[in-house]
């Protein structure tokens, strides 16, 4: 590298220049508007293509939307590519969820994924059109859920007692009975499952991919394709899929040209020479890319913007498109321009600001009930930075610095930024990351264990060069960049299983015996009996979930191919294989087609510790008394509840409970991995996490001996402690989580931490946070993120100190726990921090 990162220069960039500031304010002020053009175009295309192969129909539907959707290029915008014609438009496809869209039309309230507030803005014409569109699909879609009918046929009606709408032993997108299904049912696609921004496509240009498809089609006809396609069905599938890929890629190129034309049109009418030049720059970029490789850094950024947008449009219903390793993708283009003096850090910073605004602009309507949403408030357009390559080189570069700086200055909820941290991460960069985290506030960036991520793929036989090319996806997952499909998880609600185990297999919610008889916990006379009952219930339920997962996934896979775009994004493998990534066309198709999830083991460890302490060690209570208190949801038993809450809790480096946690966590792995994943023929890839699912999961669980009340959320994230219960500082919480190598067994093993801003107000203190992160990684922790506490949280701490025992504040020469401070001082800190946050 012929230039060196200058931290001072990075920190002095101005990301939100006046024109970006103006765009941001316009966006903030714009009311969310329901956008219908895309769904109408989709339906129109679907009617036009009746009778054609389904892959062609998908591609044609994408083509029509790309060629005919309205475009919006606002004054002052540096990058082209708006999803809708509104500054803040929310669209969807009626084909995917018509009944619920119709309900929204009737109520006049349109619920949005990125916010808890509904949109009510829709023109009367659009409302009428949307309603008619929804009604058309209700008439034409299958009347029953294919997946659920498959369960019913194969497993009998009883399986529904366990699923999401009932006992909720399992949860996951595939097992919700009342879910609106629409035309196709291919839900389990997030992160690696959807089309994703592909570096190779950008670098080569889509004309190259189109050419490959054409040649392969010709070759198939000329030579046959027995090495890949066995039988006529496979042959013709591949043939049409390649054609679909060509249609989608060509449509994408034409879509970019439409943006170029619009920019040229505006340039022609523009009096301001600077703006005119900007518009011409956009036009030139959109004429060059994505058909051909970018020639400049700017063209590369513009290209990334359009890829994200088109991948988003293609995926339609689960459009969680990861942007991937942005600092690596853009680096060759930036380096060249920087060395030639054509771009400065300031230029790049402003461009990232523009990109951030465009990414955040993307919103959609969502029909999943609020309390059941995974990752509410986010569309998960994740960006991953840094990482060690196959040569052992650490890849942090100037763009890694600038991207973080842009994130901190723009302060938008999306995109989320992840940093792959290793012992080679430069300390100075880590300090910058911590500083950006403080300035951003709410847990951005998050930190992932670089070596651990790579190692898990190496363990599965992936060669090093590919194993180290992974990026964050979904809410807590990660995947190889454009080399695999990654399906959504099906999860076991472990605390629910534990609850059922305490009740002899009986579920209060459905009022049915749903598990085997393992004994009523009121009568248990030893601690071993309690644990064994839980293990026995888990051993009963786990194979049932695997069957549910397998039937659901396989049915979905068979059900819904999308346009050929995702074939293009993984062209090296999907073209010769003639299959989409989801069907097995990806480079690593045999593995981990979906996570086998487990949530809430910490709740069980804490519950067992309370039982051990209060019933068996100190004999303060009997099992019967404790169970009575739990079943009464602590009513009339407040003292027992308090005693349960005060029992040792995971997260305090307390061996009393941590040893129980170790034992339970290992046993859970053992039981869940004793089953083979029938789709892969391997032991399942385990996933432990609860980005937001902990709220829904907790809603069906009665009071547990850890002191939690009926219906309260279970623990957030995967290895965080019970809220407010990790009272001994962050090293203790990390020690509890990393004493045993769970992270090696599970993906998604995330830790949330809350920090006070005043703990991080000097470079020295930021370095201490950096050390904490590096030590977490050194101890094999997988994922850690820090909430620099918010005003609301402090306010809540003021009102409900019992929930915020772990909130540290530092003012003056001492650190103190917020709850230990006099009320007046607490109030003072609340005000002071508000002052700081501005």
């Amino acid at each position: 590298m012929s230039f060196k990162v200058n931290p001072e220069e990075i920190r002095s960039v101005k990301v939100l220049t006046p024109r970006l500031q103006k765009l941001k304010e316009e966006w903030e002020a714009a009311p969310p508007q329901v956008y219908v053009d895309d769904t109408l175009l989709f339906t129109e295309s679907w009617k036009e293509t009746e009778g054609l192969p389904v892959d062609i129909r998908w591609a044609k539907a994408l083509e029509k939307r790309l060629l005919e959707c309205p475009l919006l290029l606002r004054d002052g915008e540096l990058l082209a590519g708006s999803l809708t014609k509104f500054i803040r438009g929310n669209g969807t496809l009626c084909a995917m969820k018509p009944r619920e869209i119709l309900e929204m039309c009737e109520s006049g309230r349109f619920s949005r994924k990125t916010s808890d507030s509904d949109s009510t803005n829709i023109t009367p014409e659009d409302l009428a059109a949307l309603k008619a569109d929804a009604e058309y699909w209700i008439e034409h879609m299958p009347k029953k859920s294919t997946v659920n009918e498959a369960y019913r046929y194969d497993m009998g009606e009883g399986v529904f007692d366990l699923l999401f709408d009932h006992a909720m032993i399992f949860e996951g997108r595939g097992v919700r009975e009342k879910m609106d299904r629409g035309l196709f049912q291919n839900y389990s696609a997030y992160g690696g499952g959807v089309a994703q921004v592909s570096q190779k496509c950008i670098d080569h240009g889509l004309n190259y991919v189109i050419d490959l498809c054409k040649k392969e089609k010709e070759r198939m006809m000329r030579e046959g394709d027995v090495q890949h396609s066995h039988g006529s069905a496979q042959f013709i599938r591949k043939y049409w899929l390649l054609e679909a890929c060509i249609i989608s890629c060509e449509a994408f190129i034409k879509y970019a040209k439409r943006w170029a034309d619009l920019a040229r049109e505006q340039a022609a009418a523009c009096k301001d020479e600077t703006r005119k030049a900007e518009l011409i720059r956009i036009a030139e970029a959109c004429e060059q890319c994505p058909g051909e490789p970018p020639r400049t850094f700017f063209e590369a950024v513009q290209c990334v913007r359009l890829y994200h947008l088109v991948c988003w449009k293609e995926s339609s219903d689960r459009p969680e498109v990861p942007i991937g390793r942005l600092d690596q993708l853009l680096w060759p283009y930036y380096k060249k321009d920087r060395e030639e003096g054509k771009v400065t850090p300031q230029d790049a910073a402003e461009l990232f600001g523009a990109l951030w605004l465009k990414i955040r602009e993307v919103e959609n309507l969502v029909t999943i009930p609020r309390e059941q949403r995974a990752a509410p408030g986010s569309l998960l357009p994740n960006i991953t930075l840094c990482g060690v390559n196959e040569k052992g080189e650490e890849l942090t570069n100037e763009l890694s610095w600038l991207i973080l700086e842009a994130m901190a200055q723009v302060k938008l909820s999306e995109p989320a930024v992840y940093i792959r941290v290793s012992d080679k991460t430069p300390d100075e960069f880590l300090r910058h990351a911590c500083d950006c985290n403080v300035r951003f506030g709410g847990g951005n960036p998050a930190f992932l264990n670089d070596a651990e991520g790579t190692q898990r793929y190496l363990d599965r036989g992936v060669p090093l060069v590919d194993a180290c090319d992974w990026n964050a996806s979904g809410c807590l997952g990660y995947h190889l960049s454009c080399m695999e499909h990654l399906g959504g998880g099906h999860n076991i609600n472990q605390p629910k299983v534990f609850e059922v185990a305490l009740n002899d297999g009986y579920d209060w919610r459905t009022q049915k015996q749903i598990g085997p008889h393992t004994g009523d916990a009121s009568t248990f006379t030893s601690f071993e009996q309690v644990k064994q009952a839980y293990y026995d219930q888990l051993a009963y339920f786990a194979p049932i979930l695997m069957r549910v997962k397998t039937l659901g996934l396989a049915t979905e896979i068979a059900d819904g191919p999308m346009s050929g775009l995702r074939v293009a994004m993984q062209y090296e493998d999907c073209i010769p294989n003639g299959l989409t990534p989801k069907e097995g066309g990806a480079r690593y198709p045999e593995g981990w087609t979906s996570w086998f999830g487990s949530r809430g083991v910490v709740d069980i460890a804490d519950s067992l510790a309370a039982i051990k302490l209060l019933v068996f060690d100190e004999e303060k209570l009997t099992m019967a008394e404790l169970m009575e208190a739990c079943r009464a949801n602590w009513e009339g038993y407040e003292d027992i509840k308090t005693a349960c809450r005060n029992a040792p809790k995971y997260g305090n480096d307390d061996p009393y409970v941590d040893e129980i946690y170790d034992e339970v966590a290992k046993k859970v792995v053992e039981i869940m991995q004793s089953i083979i994943d029938p789709i892969t023929g391997k032991t399942p890839m385990l996933f432990i996490g609860a980005a937001a699912g902990h709220i829904g999961l907790g809603s069906c669980i009665m009071a547990l001996p850890n002191g939690r009340s009926k219906g309260d959320p279970i623990n957030d994230a995967a290895c965080s402690a019970m809220p407010g219960m990790d009272a001994n500082g962050p090293t203790c919480t990390i020690n509890s989580a990393t004493n045993a190598p769970y992270a090696k067994e599970f993906c998604g093993f995330a830790m949330n931490m809350k920090f006070s801003k005043s703990l991080l107000n000097t470079d020295e203190k930021l370095d201490k946070l950096g050390t904490l992160i590096k030590t977490f990684v050194k101890r094999d922790g997988w994922h850690i993120q820090f909430n620099i506490h918010s005003q609301e949280e402090l306010q809540d701490a003021l009102e409900h100190p019992e929930n915020h025992k772990n909130l540290l504040v530092r003012v003056g020469g001492y650190s103190a726990y917020f709850v230990d401070l006099p009320k007046a001082l607490q109030a003072e800190i609340v005000h002071r921090t508000m002052h700081e946050m501005i």
């Binding site: 480096d653 003056g812 020469g813 103190a816």
Partner: protein, 304 residues
């Protein structure tokens, strides 16, 4: 020589302590202090004796402790539990009866080896500069315990920091210094009569120990709790800097800790009265001025 089986009395061990020296540290707070500073933020650390501590925020006012107390020294009113400390023999019956955990022991006895094991639990986090701090209470009251902890740290390459008010025997000071990489030395007032008025003890012995520290191998950091109307005068600050120059040996960093009243709630926990209820923290102006003054006298100054 040190004995790792020396028993000490602690009142808290703080993990991820980042205010008590460089890097990430574990701070062991020992119980018992010869001073009784009116602003003390850890009043439960002053008495060497074990005590029953009471947190009224956790109390459910069930009265089980009052009924169970064999000395009948507890009462319950609208302000919660009160303990007659002149009668209480700290038998702990009430602690056992308290399900919500509002009553607890303040003061835990452990060996230097046990304390060191706690320090070792966070060894991964210390890296080059972090480590172990012993604070109080006053470490000079338990020199054998502290020295034995530090000696074990030394053997394992863990940085040690002795946080002291300087009030104790010179022998105790030397014993601890032998194993200390750093000393946080409190200087509250240069005038002995004033010192005595606010802390109960004059400063003569403290200055003797300061001399020893300044001429030792340990890096000294001077810590000044800045109390409005007590030690924030130009006269006192100047006298302090002059004294430090006169003693020589090294030029310490001076760390100024503006007064805060975080400890106020804790006085209720042990049925004691907080006298400084009207005391205000020093103003920004004062803090800036003190920093400037110290720097003008040739010392590096940090206001925490």
């Amino acid at each position: 020589m040190v004995d790792i089986n020396t028993v000490g009395r602690t009142f808290n061990i703080q993990r991820y302590s980042i205010a008590d020296g460089p890097g990430i540290r574990t701070t062991i707070f020992v119980k018992g202090c010869p001073l009784s500073c009116k602003w003390c933020s850890n009043p439960e650390s002053q008495s060497k004796e074990r005590q029953i501590a009471y947190r009224n925020t956790q109390c459910k006012a069930c009265g089980k402790c009052v009924a169970a107390c064999p000395k009948q020294c507890m009462t319950l009113d609208e302000d919660g539990i009160h303990i007659d400390r002149t009668v209480c023999d700290v038998c702990g019956t009430c602690v056992k009866k308290c399900l919500p955990g509002a009553l607890s022991f303040s003061g835990k006895d452990m060996t230097a080896q046990e304390a060191f094991k706690v320090v070792m639990r966070d060894k991964d986090y210390y890296e080059k500069d972090g480590g172990c701090t012993c604070s109080g209470g006053e470490i000079l009251m338990q020199p054998d315990f502290v020295a034995a902890i530090f000696a074990q740290c030394r053997e394992n390459g863990i940085h040690t920091n002795a946080d002291t008010c300087g009030c104790g025997s010179e022998e105790a000071m030397r014993k601890i210094l032998e194993y200390s990489d750093m000393v946080f030395f409190d200087l509250k007032h240069m005038d002995s009569a004033e010192h005595k008025r606010m802390t109960g003890v004059g400063n003569e012995q403290i200055l003797k120990n300061l001399d020893i520290c300044m001429h030792s191998d340990a890096q000294v950091v001077i810590r000044v709790p800045l109390i409005k109307g007590f030690n924030d005068t130009d006269e006192n600050i100047t006298a302090m800097c002059e004294t430090l120059k006169k003693i020589g040996g090294q030029t310490p960093i001076i760390s100024v800790l503006p007064y805060h009243n975080y400890g106020e709630n804790k006085y209720r926990m042990i049925d004691e009265v907080y006298e400084l209820t009207d005391m205000e923290p020093p103003s920004q102006e004062t803090k800036d001025h003190v920093k400037e003054l110290i720097e003008s006298l040739g010392f590096e100054c940090r206001v925490e």
